[in-house]
Assembly symmetry: D2
Homo-oligomer: 136 residues x 4
């Protein structure tokens, strides 16, 4: 497997907390999306806006989240992601949200992203130079 | 005052509720914004997307919200808005969020909107035909 | 299969729209959660707050969402859900988000909910009277 | 004026961005709320949860936001806040959201917070030891 795992710290905000006094379930997804944005720019050296400038965009096709532990206001957390496979127009990205204090997992799962040609909204084969950048 | 007051029902969603088990303060703003969108289309017969097609956009310049009562999951609410004044590039819109069961106010305040030329991001005088449509 | 499918209309709000001018991916989850809340109260005659009063709570354990089509501001949508199976402490709920104009699916998938004893945070077997209420 | 100004970095997330490709207006409020949470813990050494343990809570009574500049994905921002006055049950907190690259203001305004007795939901005079902690 040529793909590396990257980690991004995420700060829990009060507006992420729901009536059960823990992070609302849909915000787990937003934390992973935020981590990928950061990692695209920081590690792959190709931010989402660079994709957009080339007439490309990554759309989310599948999200699968398994909730393991709750996260509370003040918890220190990080999101680890790793490309699991990439072929055709799609990349499958595994993730884990980690409670930094205990090292335990708050959630695990994967997202499938599809590369889209912005002009016509159709899937487009991931260019070789992108695969190369991601193969670190 | 030639401007009318309009009312839009808003449904409280679980993701609007915060750690205090009531609607989170920033969602009050989102409810007012949602109501204005609805009212632009329904009452002024000129939706936000029609503005966008003309190269125009309404940006929010000031929001002032006075919180009167909490809103809880299951509460029936409505947002009433009314243009208070419109001159130059700006429209000042007053609002009230009403708890329908008691008729009492959950919040009151005003937003100042500025009409923007999308091409250059600069404020643009509200066209006469827009003022006319809003003068109902 | 003794379980019925229920449908709830959801209103798309401007704050649900992201930089791609369509509904943000995590809001799909919020729409399903909102629909379930509504259906618990309306169809099962046992709202989330009634569960809470009995010292019970439904926590989300798995979310699986397959994104089929984008939703835009102004689209009329509905969320259909159906219990697929219920055993032990868990209920698996299938869902479909439908674009009402075309009848086409914007997303499909399932959520696994776990019934929790609020006092100790542990899973608790779904009581018979709850299974009965859900078996409509 | 015995009150200090504090600064907290905030990370812009993709889910904060709206159809106009900039930070959605209600998220400005969430950034200020997040900064205050951080500053209560870090600078006043009295976090929101410590207030809650004493049967107290800070509710937002007024928010006034003047939007000066847009914030985009990738912008480095910080929120500066300062208690402007505190008397009876209320504290008025001024804020400025700053674009770190240019030093320019993205927004300015104030929030009025009211201290609440959690048991009965009524306003309660800010205790002397809290005023003292805040007077740094």
């Amino acid at each position: 497997m040529p793909f590396s795992e990257f980690e991004t710290d995420v700060i829990i905000r009060p507006d992420d907390i729901d009536m059960n006094s823990h992070v609302h379930s849909s915000r787990y997804m937003d934390y992973v999306i935020a981590a990928r944005y950061d990692q695209m720019r920081t590690h792959y050296k190709m931010s989402m806006s660079e994709f957009n400038e080339k007439g490309l965009n990554w759309y989310i096709t599948v999200t699968h989240i398994e909730y393991k532990r709750e996260m509370k206001m003040g918890d220190q957390i990080a999101v680890r992601t790793k490309v699991l496979e990439a072929s055709g127009a799609q990349a499958k990205v595994g993730f884990k949200i980690v409670l930094k204090k205990s090292g335990k997992s708050a959630a695990e799962g994967y997202f499938v992203y599809t590369l889209i040609n912005t002009a016509n909204g159709r899937p487009v084969r991931i260019p070789d130079d992108v695969v190369e950048r991601y193969s670190i």
